[in-house]
């Protein structure tokens, strides 16, 4: 899923300084699962903002809504009837959702309520970690199912580097060395010949480096 973290309330209050009547828009997709942008978070954020503004002597009116997904046009359309009645929309969906709202409602300012994080997994309740950078050219079949682009701090294709110590990355003792994980897994799978093969230079053109990406599926249009 796409993960994220809430923006500091001070930063949000500063963004909202010009406005007295806004929508706080959540999303039932990824950000609900990682507990940063769902219906409940909309309630918490809206309450917080109302309290803060009232305590500061300047009330704010907030409409609380959550859309099925902010990254699909049909759900975004559900706001069209009333969006012009508000001065701004504070979205706590991921960066994709916020931008899509902004694209569809061109005369309403869109404000981000969260910092979008990474494509990750739930390690346990309340803890998420990164797994994929969406580089557009998956090599997991060669690396024991562990991604060198994401799990190695240097995205090396022939790791580990000299900074790998007892399974930890040089960046932090809390970060496992991706290449140690890959090697352990390849050994367990009896696929160490994959390790010793020289890999071609990675084509980053399928990644963000090639410019904004688009997928077109003719069979679905």
């Amino acid at each position: 899923m796409i993960t994220g973290t809430p923006k500091p309330i001070e930063e949000i209050l500063e963004m909202l300084e010009p406005y007295d009547k806004i929508i706080v828009a959540g999303c039932y997709g990824c950000v609900t699962v990682c507990r940063v942008g769902g219906e409940k978070e909309v309630q918490v954020l809206a309450s917080t903002l109302r309290l803060a503004r009232e305590a500061a002597g300047r009330k704010i009116a907030i409409k609380e809504i959550s859309l099925e997904r902010q990254c699909d046009p049909e759900y975004i359309e559900q706001m069209r009837a009333y969006v012009q009645d508000y001065q701004a929309v504070l979205s706590i969906a991921c960066g994709a959702g916020i931008q899509f709202l902004a694209e569809k409602y061109t005369t309403t300012p869109l404000l981000p309520g969260i910092n979008t994080g990474f494509l990750g997994v739930t390690e346990r309740q309340g803890e998420w970690s990164e797994r994929c950078q969406g580089c557009g050219d998956c090599v997991l079949h060669l690396t024991g199912g562990i991604c060198p682009v994401t799990r190695c701090a240097k995205s090396l294709f022939h790791g580990p580097c000299g900074g790998s110590v007892q399974g930890h990355c040089e960046v932090s003792k809390d970060v496992p060395c991706g290449w140690q994980l890959i090697i352990d897994r390849l050994k367990a799978l009896d696929q160490m010949d994959n390790y010793t093969k020289l890999k071609p230079y990675k084509g980053w053109n399928t990644s963000r480096d090639g410019g904004p990406r688009r997928i077109v599926r003719e069979d679905m249009i």
Binding site: A153, K154, G159, C177, I183, Y201, K202
Partner: protein, 308 residues
């Protein structure tokens, strides 16, 4: 000759080679390089010039190499893949070769979080293994990796670093082999203190005949004090200093520890000189370049051979 570098010639002639390193300054003053280089001159076959080591911004490695060259010292260009994409790497390789730099060391580079600019974007477009391959392709095939023909191929004696002591140990020799296959002509090892472990590593490398295909220069660093030894063991990733080594220097009174460190370094070089498969030493006297003559001379490696 692949590059015609002095280091390549010395090794090809069967001499036990000696290299050292010079870290460029954190500023634009060339005198700092010249001062360090003066201690290096005459004691080595080539001198590494580091490339923003530990991610701390320093004078560029190519500029440092040129200052050495002006002084008649053969430079060895260190190049990390942290800060440049393949376009910049190729361009700098061409430039360095055009300026007469003939030795190259291909490295990953420490993560930028260790330097003064932890917020910097890192590159790692290709890795150090691939930089070896890229340089060899340009040198031997006369083409860019893209396949485009070069207007003059760069000439480099291609090196890389290996750490026989890092984790996991069992992939250390296979990695040496991979680097050899990628195109490395020589390797410089991480500082050796744990000879027992290094012997295990070398025995495996020799069994596979790797020492015949790639020149292995053993890395050594003289310890200035017991404090430095403890600090390095604790703080430097992949640094293996056995307690017995630390004890030997710690048993000396403080004022005699530096002298003991040099004595231990000389002993180590002499032992390495007799070891099968070791083609030379890389003496990293970190901020202690003035002792190079004493160490290298003490190990009976002076004067350095002149090979035409």
């Amino acid at each position: 000759m692949k590059s015609g570098s002095n280091l390549e010639k010395v090794l090809a002639a069967g001499h036990f080679a000696v290299t050292a390193e010079c870290g460029p300054p954190r500023g634009a003053d060339p005198e700092v390089v010249r001062r360090k280089a003066a201690y290096v001159k005459g004691n080595i076959d080539a001198c590494n010039v580091t490339d923003n080591q530990t991610s701390v911004v320093r004078m560029s490695s190519i500029a440092g190499c040129m200052i050495l060259k002006e002084m008649g010292i053969e430079p060895l260009l260190q190049m990390v893949v942290r800060d440049r994409n393949r376009i910049a790497l190729q361009s700098d390789l061409l430039g360095a070769s055009a300026l007469g730099v003939r030795n190259l060391l291909c490295l990953s580079g420490d993560h930028q979080k260790f330097g003064d600019d932890p917020q910097a974007k890192n590159v790692f477009d290709i890795d150090s293994m691939q930089l070896i391959h890229l340089t060899k392709t340009m040198r031997d095939d006369g083409v860019f990796p893209s396949g485009q023909k070069l207007d003059g191929a760069p000439k480099f004696f291609i090196g890389c670093a290996v750490n026989p002591f890092a984790d996991p140990f069992e992939i250390r020799v296979p990695r040496l082999k991979m680097k050899m296959q990628a195109g490395a002509d020589f390797v410089q090892t991480q500082c050796i203190y744990n000879m027992e472990k290094f012997k295990v590593y070398m025995a495996d490398a020799i069994r596979q005949g790797l020492h015949e295909k790639v020149k292995i220069l053993a890395g050594v660093t003289p310890l200035k004090s017991a404090g430095m030894a403890k600090f390095m063991k604790k703080m430097v990733a992949g640094m293996d200093i056995p307690d017995a080594v630390i004890k030997r220097i710690a048993d000396e009174p403080k004022e005699k520890q530096a002298e003991k460190g040099i004595e231990m370094c000389i002993e180590l070089i002499q032992e390495l000189k007799e070891m099968e498969g070791i083609a030379g030493v890389h003496v990293m006297a970190i901020e202690w370049e003035e002792k190079l003559n004493q160490i290298i001379g003490g190990a009976g490696l002076l004067p350095r051979p002149v090979v035409e």
